[in-house]
């Protein structure tokens, strides 16, 4: 059985001031196997973030439904951990308290929390920063904390919405390796939204390419590159071949987006 099932999920936004309703997402069907790392690749505005937010339960689909372990998703919950593109650490909590947030909401006693928090601080390489405020951290460190915060809750699936989109190129590369390393060791079902082709291939066991708005699935590409993956993989011929193929797919969509915007 699939871990996550997306069945005919679409999203239409009501028109502004009596205007035509806007179709953001055409009906999407997707089955995600347990412990799969799926990246959703698409041009900006294609509805890929909307799809992820529907899986998270932060938005309701106009049609269709999302099933996690056979149960329909109706609202956000701790079984679907999320990492956002914007920095969403709670600024009044320290790094350690941020990571412990979900555990505290669950009512776990402090002593039990401390051990879990320490292990995740370690996992994302933030030892020594436990008592820092988010404001004192770089963007990369904030996102590492956000990943630890989501993972500490031990969700069934991890949702990431362009988590490294605001980071500089070097930091982004390091963060990709960090996240992939965690996934290789701890196995988790992951849905990762990005518009970066290289990132999509490097991270994924399967890349879902979406069309320009209104978004639907254009292609579904299995990435059979071996694990553990090293950053040098990005310069290998297999990687380049995949990149060339997906670049072509995305380019057509990006051009369509540009045309509809200028029209």
């Amino acid at each position: 059985m699939s871990k996550l099932l997306i069945e005919g999920v679409s999203r239409t936004f009501a028109g502004v001031r009596g205007g035509e309703p806007v179709k953001a997402l055409m009906p999407v069907d997707l089955a995600v196997a347990a412990n799969d790392f799926i990246t959703i690749l698409g041009p900006s505005g294609c509805g890929k973030s909307t799809l992820l937010r529907i899986v998270a339960g932060l938005e309701a689909p106009s049609e269709g439904r999302v099933l996690l372990d056979g149960k329909a998703v109706t609202r956000p919950g701790p079984d679907r951990g999320m990492v956002f593109q914007s920095y969403t650490l709670f600024p009044w909590l320290t790094v350690a308290e941020n990571i412990a947030f979900g555990l505290r909401e669950r009512g776990m006693p402090e002593r039990e929390r401390d051990g879990i928090v320490a292990s995740y601080v370690d996992l994302v390489g933030l030892k020594g920063f436990e008592n820092h405020w988010p404001k004192q951290l770089s963007g990369g460190m904030q996102q590492r904390t956000a990943i630890a915060r989501a993972l500490a809750n031990d969700p069934e699936i991890l949702l990431l919405d362009e988590p490294f989109g605001a980071l500089d190129n070097q930091t982004r590369g390091l963060m990709q390796e960090l996240l992939l390393g965690i996934w290789e060791r701890r196995k988790k079902t992951v849905l990762f939204v990005t518009h970066d082709i290289e990132e999509a291939i490097f991270m994924a066991s399967r890349v879902i390419v979406m069309t320009a708005r209104p978004g639907r699935i254009k292609s579904d590409v299995a990435i059979d590159l071996p694990h553990p993956r090293h950053y040098t993989l990005k310069t290998s011929p297999e990687f380049s071949a995949l990149k060339a193929r997906l670049t072509e797919d995305i380019r057509v969509e990006a051009m369509r987006t540009a045309q509809t915007q200028s029209a």
Partner: protein, 257 residues
């Protein structure tokens, strides 16, 4: 001068102090130099002399204490009512829809115009003074806090939901801590306004307080005392503002880190 170019801390201090010096010098020049009638404006030296006499002989410090108590009493009363209401209005939209129109209307009712009515209801004792400050502050605090709470960062709320927060958890462990520094800043601002209301309350139907001393001095043309009273109000306001600011900084280190 280059627009928006910062100024060094040293020069900033010198410039800030020099205006005070200029101001007092101008005041001394027009009064001591005989350019205005002394009946209407006392000179700085006799102002200090009058002030000293007030403190030593007329026990003016008792008036100061009573005014401070009124400000903080009325302000505390208003805060206790307004902060929870403001948070409730910001967090739950039906509560806002229910109360916002009335509070917006009540905000424009001038507190000073309530004084005659409040005197009828509560006499000219302490309760009336507290109520003037209460009426003047409570609606302002409610509205400002409701707006701040209403603009809580949605991404923080969403993040908390995906971490398993319940609706009540969102209010008590996201909305409240996220807005706590802003709420404290709002209270600091409104405390400044409360100083205005207390003096107005003391100018009408009162037998103690800084405002009473001022209105009393007017009938005796003691402009030195009036000016001294005004300066005392300014100084206490400044001090309480400093203390409040320092307290907020100590309370919310994360918002400044």
């Amino acid at each position: 001068m280059r627009p928006l170019h910062p100024v060094s801390p040293g020069i900033r201090t010198v410039l800030g102090i020099s205006f005070f010096v200029l101001f007092v010098a101008f005041w001394a020049w027009i009064t001591l130099g005989g350019h205005v009638n002394r009946i209407f404006l006392a000179d700085p030296l006799s102002m200090l002399r009058d002030g000293w006499r007030l403190l030593v002989e007329d026990r003016f410090w008792l008036d100061i204490l009573i005014t401070i108590w009124r400000v903080f009493g009325g302000f505390l009363l208003a805060s206790v009512v307004a902060v929870p209401l403001g948070i409730a209005m910001g967090a739950w939209k039906p509560v806002e829809a229910f109360l916002e129109p009335f509070v917006s209307f009540a905000r424009y009712l001038p507190a000073s115009a309530f004084i005659p009515l409040l005197i009828l209801w509560a006499g000219i004792g302490e309760l009336e003074k507290l109520l003037v400050i209460f009426v003047g502050s409570v609606f302002q605090i409610i509205l400002i806090i409701a707006v701040k709470v209403g603009s809580t960062r949605r991404d923080l709320v969403e993040a908390a939901y995906t971490l398993g927060s319940t609706n009540n958890g969102i209010v008590s462990r996201v909305i409240m801590p996220a807005n706590a520094p802003e709420i404290a800043e709002t209270l600091r601002l409104v405390l400044g306004w409360a100083w205005t209301y207390v003096i107005v309350a003391e100018l009408i139907g009162s037998s103690s307080g800084i405002g009473y001393m001022i209105i009393n001095s007017q009938s005796r043309l003691a402009t030195g005392q009036i000016i001294f009273g005004i300066i005392v109000i300014g100084l206490i306001g400044l001090l309480s503002d400093f203390a409040f600011k320092a307290f907020n900084r100590w309370l919310f280190p994360w918002s400044l880190a």
